[in-house]
Amino acid sequence: MTAVETPLAAAALALGDDALVLSHRLGEWAGHAPVLEEEVALANIALDLLGQARTLLSLVGDEDELAYLREERAFRNAQLVEQPNGDFARTIARQLYFSTYQHLLYEQLATAGGPVAPLAGKAVKEVAYHRDHAEHWTLRLGDGTQDSHARMQRGLDALWRYTGELFEPVAGLPVDWSTLREAWLSAVTGVVERATLTLPSGPQTGAWTAGAGRQGIHTEPFGRMLAEMQHLHRSHPGASW
């Protein structure tokens, strides 16, 4: 797999891999959700993200070659989206951090023009729904029972160190990254405080995470996720499905 690293390819791979990998994680919830309504909601979000991934990857090359035949080191998604689902609170924390980011990012991209603008313009409506879903659950869990409050706080704390990477500039994306970070921090703070929770105060990144996913350096669970995702496709080289 030799994706040409033009700025457009870099940008589409970063955004496309984010959507592909998070979609996969949400797909793992199917049949395991806490209420039937969440079976529908999580599958719905997974499907939206998969649709976005397909559009974005197709800007770079063949969507299936890119999804199924790249090794771990060639994926450009942020480490946040590859984090295992954990309990429902951790999944919601991941959704809150990511969908707030994605919504603000796509709003900027939709108005900035360029090849990603049409996708961003369409996806921003889907992502607004994902963000609402994550916000409402953050409120319910944070301001629900003592147990749900503690779990939600643990989810936010555990994933905090993966949030800094979201604001590492991606080549080819006409985005003001520092404005994006400020807007994100303000939006997430608002929700977290309304949910009677505390925004983690530690570093948003570390030497081991700074921009790492975007450079193809991932966390251990990611390779296992890809092994499962790619196994069947790789077992039948050249086959059509």
Binding site: L20, H24, G27, E28, A30, G31, H32, A33, P34, V35, L36, E37, E38, E39, V40, A43, N44, A46, L47, L50, G51, A53, R54, L57, E63, D64, A67, Y68, D87, F88, H136, L139, R140, L141, D143, G144, T145, D147, S148, R151, E228, M229, H231, L232, H233, H236, G238, A239, S240, W241
Partner: protein, 321 residues
């Protein structure tokens, strides 16, 4: 029909019963606030609940392949299908609730084994082709069973079925198309498709239930127009539909006795292994334990989430949640 339920003495019941019988005879719909015989209500609760449970348990064998789907297009189709099944479960629980039961109570009965789900979902999905075989055969059998339910005498159930059948037909075509792609693909893919059809054919025929002679609920359900056709009639219809479809798929059906009967104008087919059917119903199928345990685990592990939502709603009012 708009007859209200009686709240006075038993001497009035005969009049209501006559009105109910007349409405059923005239093919009118019975609605939730209408009077209905207790046994009619109980039969419907049993049937609709079992149907709803089947949608929910039926997500598992297919969800088993979401993370391994071999192309992004197929993965999207599969996620959408599993999502639809959860939605069908929700419609059906709502329909059951119009009969005076609650979703929590029904789920309890599923989890404790007091209510059943379709025996077909106790079979494992061992290869990707099984996803196609489920779409083509299992959904195909379900549609054959369910299309007549769109005319069922109980209004809420009939209306749920109209919507469900539309989506199921779509899934069925997608399953067929998946198998066709495999059948026309590499030798290994073709073999995978044939193996899946070989494993799913007989269990699909069992979905129509026991032979007419042994079907305990059939006669009453037909009299009430909950059911419109007998098990054996629908099974025969299904076989007749599948034979030419298998031929166009380039796949065979695993039944040496299967052949066209000119005289009957229908296909003859071999005997069904009813011992296997009874074993699966008794809980001894390949995946009975696994399916029910996963469902219970999802429910138990989700209890704190449901409690949190309830606590939040109590604090803030449901409208803000």
């Amino acid at each position: 029909m708009t007859t209200m339920a009686p709240d006075t003495g038993a001497q009035d019941t005969a009049g209501y019963e006559a009105a109910f019988d007349a409405a059923v005879a005239a093919d009118e719909r019975i609605e939730p606030r209408d009077w209905m015989p207790d046994a009619y209500r109980a039969t419907l609760v049993r049937q609709i609940a079992q149907h709803a449970h089947s949608e929910i348990i039926g997500m598992q064998p297919e969800a088993n392949w979401i993370t391994r789907a071999p192309s992004l297009r197929r993965k999207a189709i599969l996620i959408a299908k599993v999502q639809d099944e959860a939605g069908h479960g929700l419609y059906l629980y709502s329909a059951a609730e119009t009969l005076g039961t609650g979703r929590d109570e029904l789920l309890d009965k599923l989890h404790s084994g007091r209510q059943k789900y379709s025996s077909i979902f106790n079979y494992p999905t061992l290869t990707w082709a099984d996803v196609g075989a489920i779409g083509w055969l299992v959904d195909g059998a379900a549609i054959t069973n369910q299309v007549p339910l769109c005319r069922c005498s109980y209004g809420p159930y009939a209306r749920a079925m109209v919507r469900i059948c539309k989506e199921e037909s779509f899934h069925q075509r997608q399953g067929y198309e998946l198998l066709l792609a495999l059948s026309r693909g590499t030798e290994a893919q073709h073999a995978m498709a044939q193996d899946a059809v070989d494993r799913w054919w007989w269990p699909s025929l069992m979905m129509f239930g026991p032979p007419d002679a042994e079907s305990s609920h059939s006669a009453q359900s037909m009299a009430w127009k909950i059911k419109r056709h007998s098990n054996d009639e629908l099974r025969q219809r299904f076989v007749d539909i599948c034979v030419p479809q298998a031929a166009s798929l380039g796949l065979t059906l695993p039944d040496p006795a299967l052949r066209w009967n000119e005289e009957r104008g229908q296909h003859d087919f071999g005997p069904i292994d009813w011992t296997e059917f009874q074993e699966v119903l008794r809980g001894n199928g390949p995946c009975n334990d696994q399916r029910i345990n996963q469902r219970r685990r999802a429910h138990e592990e989700g209890a704190w989430v449901r409690e949190a939502a309830a606590a939040y709603a109590a604090k803030h009012g449901k409208a803000t949640a």
